[in-house]
């Protein structure tokens, strides 16, 4: 546990001013915090508060007791590493405004792993299609199995699928939050928050107990991108937080990769736009590993891959039909089977990992 007084003071000051930061920007729709977090403490206080608040903020700074704060963090079992400490992920130094302290919950070793291993930030829309959900899960699983840490934001949709895929494969999951690391936001993800804590680490630049604010989401995105060697976008609308992340990544000179989407889908607009701007298209975990490590250096363990096509001709015929339609009746007709036989084949294909369930009653080809 290493965080110097100065950095702690800075972090707690930001938490103290958190509610006023958005107003001070004067831009209600501001999606970014240009340079704000890079200001010095005094400049920040001056910018953020009116006269009365300023006095209170100075009083807060004067009264702040780093030793007591450190004790409280220790008592709560929190990780706290400041940018002068050895455990601080060096890749964050590339940011204009690196977080002063990273507060965290979970496995400390996870932060050390990020220093040694290139990691991937997997981001995307909060309202994905079933296809997007499956793809994000599959990339999370593949990368997790290949030993690549997966960074995401614990949000609904793509973020959650990415975390789950990674955890399912026993990989290292890193969640970066827009609130204190102890708060599960959204609350629906309490269980996921706990899973990430057990198998990886949940981090934030805001001290424990801080509620999320509008500005803290894009601010969180810069940390996610800063931690990762590559930012992979799976489905994003336009405009969206995922595109902001991609812009951050490009400014840092990190790779931006996207999973190409259907041109008719609204959640593919964002990724296709990125593709036009020169983002790297990837269609499988292998593509990502090749980009990170070079050809043939790192491979996905076979058990994490979708199995090869079934050898049984009947199962193969059903699988081919199931790639085209979700209707059991049409699958049966295409494969020349009775409905019962087609159902049995579908059950078997799902069991073998060729198909995954979609909606209430259908199947979809499992992603690689």
């Amino acid at each position: 546990m290493e965080a110097c007084d100065q950095c702690l003071r800075r972090s707690f000051l930001i938490a103290h001013l958190a509610a006023r930061i958005a107003g001070l920007l004067g831009l209600p729709k501001a999606r970014r915090t240009p340079g704000l977090l890079a200001l010095s403490n005094d400049e920040l206080v001056r910018a953020a508060t009116a006269a009365g608040g300023r006095a209170r903020a100075h009083e807060f700074l004067d009264r702040f007791d780093p030793a007591a704060a450190r004790d409280r963090l220790d008592a709560g079992g929190f990780i706290a590493v400041c940018r002068h400490g050895a455990a601080y992920p060096p890749s964050l130094h590339a940011l204009d405004d690196p977080p002063a302290v990273l507060f965290g919950l979970g496995q400390v070793e996870a932060l050390a792993r990020v220093q040694k291993e290139p990691s991937v930030a997997l981001v995307g829309t909060r309202h994905p299609s079933p296809y997007g959900t499956e793809v994000a899960h599959a990339f999370g699983r593949g990368l997790g199995a290949a030993g690549v840490p997966v960074v995401s934001g614990l949000a609904l949709g793509i973020d959650a699928s990415a975390h789950r895929g990674c955890l399912d494969a026993g990989g290292l999951a890193i969640a970066v939050l827009a609130c204190g690391p102890d708060l599960a936001y959204p609350r629906r993800h309490r269980a996921l928050h706990e899973r990430v804590r057990e198998r990886g680490v949940v981090v934030s630049e805001l001290p424990p107990g801080t509620q999320p604010f509008r500005w803290s989401f894009p601010a969180r995105n810069r940390i996610m991108v800063g931690l990762a060697r590559m930012t992979l976008v799976v489905e994003a609308a336009q405009p969206s937080g995922s595109l902001i992340s991609a812009t951050f990544a490009r400014e840092l000179g990190r790779t931006v990769a996207v999973v190409p989407g259907r041109v008719t889908s609204s959640v593919a607009q964002g990724v296709n736009e990125l593709l036009r701007d020169g983002a790297l298209p990837v269609t499988s975990t292998e593509d990502v590993l090749e980009e990170l490590f070079g050809v043939g250096v790192r491979e996905v363990p076979p058990e994490a891959l979708r199995p090869p096509r079934p050898r049984d001709p009947v199962l193969n015929a059903v699988l081919e039909a199931a790639e085209l339609t979700g209707s059991v009746e049409q699958i049966a007709r295409a494969a020349g089977l009775s409905t019962g036989e087609a159902r049995a084949a579908l059950g078997r294909l799902e069991f073998d990992g060729h198909l995954v369930r979609r909606d209430l009653d259908g199947w979809e080809r499992a992603a690689r």
Partner: protein, 509 residues
């Protein structure tokens, strides 16, 4: 002359059963009054007026004396007009207008009109069962419900049309015509609703066949207008015809609900309550407890269209009937029990907007909410999930539609499968695979080594709960029964697996 007393037996409907009520009539000299005691409700109290008018209009005497009628046991509330007949005959007997000795082994049930005619009452079948069990030899009932009462063996049922005729019968001046029970037409299901009316939908038809063969509850998923209701309506016709005892149970329920036709119900019921129904409407209740929809569907099919739209309370109330095949309704200090063993067919859309495939505009949150509403006690008891699809217009009119299945051939397979189950389940209390609880499932469905090993890995692969595991076993058992195989094969397990409800976790995120 001092007091003259008469005591007669009648039977009051309580739920779908009946209990004995003794009508005591005391006639003594004094100012002419007519007092009725024994916790009567309004309808019972008004029976004084009906009895008086009916007696006079039938050419009989109404004694101008002090009349007291007691309905015993006196602590139980009495409701409804079915005591009229017993009170009227009690007055006749107490005033010496009919012989008292012939009434000793008789029970009477009936409502009177002012002219002295007997009207239909609810629950004649329940009254006949009650009277027989209490050892009465004869039951006097209105003519219109006599065939229903005559279904009960071991008691003589007399059909009475008027009070005057009854007096003649009691005096021995008239021999009542014997009543024929109509228990004969069993087994002829509704021919007007045949599976062959439905084009396409082979997946739903297959699922219906399995549901019928094993008595499994079914969830149909598909867009509005695709034919979910049409398919569900055809389920009773592919079920085996009800046995006599089952038909009797159904008749008893329908008679108690006042829906009986006065004769044996020979078809399995189909009930489709609207999703705005209240919990008491669904499972029974009310100040005078009446059977709910799930009881009216007893031994038949309960169809819940738009399952997610039903109120939480109504769905929660279904927990007991789905698990135990009966409902308990609390009324004051008394608990009534209704039978409620029906196959539940539920239907819902793929998503709240119900637009097909890529046209769906539902957000993940809306989807999660819709599916959360789906969960709960009903879904816990759903064994099969199937697809109902929008059939292409060409197929609806086209002449080269694939060969269609007739209900009769499906029913034959279902009956054969049920026979296999009956032989296997024997005295276990379950009639079909769908009735089996967890322990019974695991005792009854035996797997070969290879299949058992497969199930272990299935359970691990899909992270099944014990209940999910049993469900797959039950359905696989029924599929094997349909094929006439005693051994459950891997293919049966795979097919059963494909009907299971999709585990939500990943989608709901």
């Amino acid at each position: 002359m001092t007091a003259v007393l008469a005591a007669l037996a009648t039977f009051a409907l309580e739920g779908v059963r009946s209990h004995e009520v003794t009508v005591e009539v005391d006639v003594r000299r004094g100012l002419p009054t007519f007092t009725l005691v024994g916790l009567p409700d309004r309808a019972v109290r008004e029976s004084r007026e009906r009895v008086r008018a009916a007696l006079l209009n039938s050419g009989l005497d109404f004694p101008q004396q002090r009349l007291t009628v007691n309905l015993a046991p006196a602590h139980v509330r009495k409701a409804g007009p079915s005591f009229d007949l017993a009170i009227a005959v009690g007055v006749l007997a107490a005033s010496g207008q009919v012989p008292r000795d012939v009434l000793a082994d008789c029970a009477l049930v009936g409502e009177l009109s002012l002219s002295g005619e007997l009207r239909v009452v609810r629950g004649a079948l329940a009254a006949a069962l009650g009277a027989r069990d209490r050892g009465y030899r004869r039951l006097l009932v209105p003519e219109a419900v006599a065939p229903e009462a005559a279904l009960v063996e071991g008691i003589e049922v007399c059909a009475i049309s008027t009070l005057a005729q009854l007096a003649d019968v009691l005096h021995g001046r008239l021999e009542p015509a014997p009543v024929e029970a109509n228990g004969l037409a069993l087994g002829a299901p509704a021919d007007d609703l045949d599976l062959s009316d439905v084009r396409g939908q082979s997946d739903a038809k297959r699922a219906l066949e399995i549901a019928a063969a094993g008595g499994h509850n079914l969830l149909m998923v598909g867009p509005p207008g695709a034919g979910k209701t049409m398919l569900a309506r055809r389920l009773p016709a592919i079920l085996p015809p009800p046995s006599f005892d089952e038909a009797l149970e159904v008749t008893q329920v329908h008679s108690a609900a006042g829906m009986g036709g006065g004769r044996l119900v020979t078809r399995r019921p189909f009930r489709a309550p609207h999703h705005t129904i209240s919990a008491p409407g669904l499972v029974g209740g009310g100040s005078r407890p009446t059977p709910g929809e799930v009881t009216l569907a007893h031994r038949g099919v309960l169809f819940l269209d738009e399952l997610p739209e039903f109120s939480r309370l109504a769905i929660d109330a279904l927990r007991q009937p789905l698990e135990e095949g009966r409902v308990e309704v609390m009324r004051g200090q008394r608990t009534l029990e209704f039978p409620a063993n029906a196959i539940v067919v539920a239907a819902c859309n793929r998503c709240p907007c119900a637009r097909p495939g890529d046209g769906c505009s539902c957000s993940a949150t809306e989807l999660a909410r819709y599916r959360r509403r789906l969960s709960g006690p009903v879904l816990d008891r759903i064994d099969l999930v199937c697809q109902v699809e929008q059939v292409p217009a060409l197929e609806l009119v086209g002449s080269k539609a694939p060969a269609r299945t007739r209900s009769a051939s499906v029913r034959a397979r279902v009956i054969a499968a049920r026979a296999r189950q009956g032989a296997r389940l024997g005295a276990s209390g379950a009639l079909c695979n769908g009735d089996m609880d967890g322990p019974l499932t695991r005792r009854t469905v035996r797997l070969g080594d290879h299949e058992a090993l497969h199930m272990v890995s299935v359970r691990e692969r899909f992270d099944f709960s014990g209940r999910g595991h049993d469900r797959v076993l039950r359905v696989a058992r029924t599929i094997a029964d349909l094929e006439g195989r005693e051994r459950v094969g891997i293919g049966d397990l795979d097919e059963a697996l494909s009907y299971r409800l999709h585990a939500w976790e990943r989608v709901a995120a």
